[in-house]
Symmetry: D2
Subunit: 238 residues, 4 copies
Amino acid sequence: MSIERKINVLDENGYVMIHDVLGTDLTVANAARVSYAKKSATLTEGDKRLIDFLAREGHTSPFRHVIAQFEFNAPLMVARQHWKYVVGSSMLEATGDNMDAWNESSRRYVTEEPSFYVPQPNEWRSAPESSKQGSGDIVPAEIGIEAFMKLMDTFNTGVIRYEWALANGICAEQARLFLPAYGMYVKYYWTASLQSICHFLNQRLAHDSQVEIQMYAKAVLELIKPLFPISVDKLVTE
Amino acid sequence: MSIERKINVLDENGYVMIHDVLGTDLTVANAARVSYAKKSATLTEGDKRLIDFLAREGHTSPFRHVIAQFEFNAPLMVARQHWKYVVGSSMLEATGDNMDAWNESSRRYVTEEPSFYVPQPNEWRSAPESSKQGSGDIVPAEIGIEAFMKLMDTFNTGVIRYEWALANGICAEQARLFLPAYGMYVKYYWTASLQSICHFLNQRLAHDSQVEIQMYAKAVLELIKPLFPISVDKLVTE
Amino acid sequence: MSIERKINVLDENGYVMIHDVLGTDLTVANAARVSYAKKSATLTEGDKRLIDFLAREGHTSPFRHVIAQFEFNAPLMVARQHWKYVVGSSMLEATGDNMDAWNESSRRYVTEEPSFYVPQPNEWRSAPESSKQGSGDIVPAEIGIEAFMKLMDTFNTGVIRYEWALANGICAEQARLFLPAYGMYVKYYWTASLQSICHFLNQRLAHDSQVEIQMYAKAVLELIKPLFPISVDKLVTE
Amino acid sequence: MSIERKINVLDENGYVMIHDVLGTDLTVANAARVSYAKKSATLTEGDKRLIDFLAREGHTSPFRHVIAQFEFNAPLMVARQHWKYVVGSSMLEATGDNMDAWNESSRRYVTEEPSFYVPQPNEWRSAPESSKQGSGDIVPAEIGIEAFMKLMDTFNTGVIRYEWALANGICAEQARLFLPAYGMYVKYYWTASLQSICHFLNQRLAHDSQVEIQMYAKAVLELIKPLFPISVDKLVTE
């Protein structure tokens, strides 16, 4: 079923768009019932109880038969955390599924002027008191203003030097060394199973994940909830 | 896009059915173009050349963003070879992709009378002369007739003993020891990317793969060719 | 570290052998600490607490850097359930990892006389009263004796017909249709991460999994416990 | 077998270290021979021919039973390309294997002063004339000198602002926005099968891959060649 719906995230550049999905809640129930060689034509109350049972008991393989495809435009630091989830690699992120496809834009090929995510003066957060990661309250206004201005300058200087390098014949793959990459927007396609998507949401909606990626996770949740209401309700526990 | 189309294979029991797909040839081109942050609205001649280039150069990740979902009813020996492909495990079958979901019926749960695939008297093949695997010409008629009759008896006796065991209170997971399982039909769902499907086809359409699985592969090819004409044409080389 | 240790399972044919391992408990701690760019030379009390924390909080990716390699000889019905775990496919078995390699013997190539697993007369179990799967108490002696004798006959007849087919020139891939495959021994190599192995153990040591595979799981546990004592203790909860 | 060998790459900060391996060339041959239920005790000429056959015909699953574990210290732009390979995601990089584990350092946790990779004045390369990617000859000396000095200033200013942000209570996950991340060193563990490692080498030793990652690939090749001489010789074709 081809659908197109877009939600803006962070600022006027950031977004999550859903392109297409395969399957419905009924697909989950039928994929589970194939163990008993059974099949439903429409979603019954029994199917809903079965989906609840599957999610509760961790029998998540039937949710791998439902797929959704997204396009993201996100700062590199968000994309990197998202990839880490997909690779199932970082200490804090174990993946329960690798039914994921991923294609993204690269500064080895793209040489157009990059756009950057700049937190507004009142969006800079303090280090948390009791944890090595995450963030706490908003910092005092004067710090926020200074951070905003320094970051604008960092981005402007970075772009000026990047374009100087390209204009002077330096290859794109080295010229990008001048770019303050964490805040730079990258575009990527993510095609993943409902199991994988909901696992990502449970990790990334959690209050100790980075605020910027929480906002992307909320957009994904808003896009998929109306499409697979029972499954998402049962699988997403955050 | 929900579609339902079914092709019978082997006999009146065997089949491949396509349930649903996600994406089109255009999805492949756009997933590739995201590296350059570009996107098409309709499939152009340039997109077709791009798909050809991707397939030819082995840049297959964009084909992972197109998905199809199948239901199979196949003898266990076919299903096992298909799984081996999915696990990427047997000596002759390396997988290029594991974007696969798999759910199947199990004799630990299903206790209905099983159905079996019996090659007709004129369908028994000889051992090949020059290879340790595969098969050659049809065996002489009297051997084929005897094989057919012996196998009918094996299946009948197997089912009688299986039902005797169940009727006498033996658990299903042990009762199945009486079943001549290689020929027994099992039902399974397979959801896979176009990359994975075409890799499977290139392996299983090959003349040295088992004839029975070649027939399933031909049905899969017939089902997907009209849906992704350019990609399938470029990726399937057998 | 090359090691060779073998434990017999089920009867004189069945076994699990460990061939080799990569890493120790310390590898887990160091793979986790790389997030903080830290590293230990010997396993400290702090490392043990870290491993406990990782297991408890489900941060299992560091356990993927420890690998073990096994050789199994197991009835096909055990191997199939084991594969299903690896594919992450059956309704009751979701995999948390696919860092698994798998190679196995195949009746498309092997034509030596097969060996079979025959439960002794006092090893036949009844169907459970309250569940669609699993098994209960041992069946009455006279049923067990009759089942044993019928199964011996099934295996003998199967082998006689299989060898008749081969002797009459039928190809191996069809001749195997005569074999009662569920009880037939197959040999396979399984190379997997400690995360994957322990996930398998938690699924297969559970009392509702098939008794025969529980026995293989116990052998795996006995083989790996002395090698990775802290990690196995924390990850295996059954 | 625990081994420790380190090769410096790029400058005094960059390196690849091998920590440990599982298996030898013999493991490959035995994993392949299990299809025929056969096994060798020492590597014979027949085993070498078998490895050559497996590599030539693309039957690569036996190479998944041999594993090596590496520690990298590499600029983020190298690490990102390496990850892309592992995710199997970028347009130009399809992965043939995902038997990979990955853990890495993160600027969400690490707040020590970062180190950076700065190409020396005579190491800046020009854009290639005929391709959208890659690089050509060294740029004129005066451009190289200016690029070097601008980049030193970019890194110094980035670090000063990063430390200003941390000192003023801004959380690490936002403070890193000031860092010119592409050149920043990150440390990571990569545990992968020989199939995966050699696939990576074939991609990254190629003349059109980024020069900096080619240098890491060469170090990996030098580390594994003496350990698996036959397999590496047959699998690495670049």
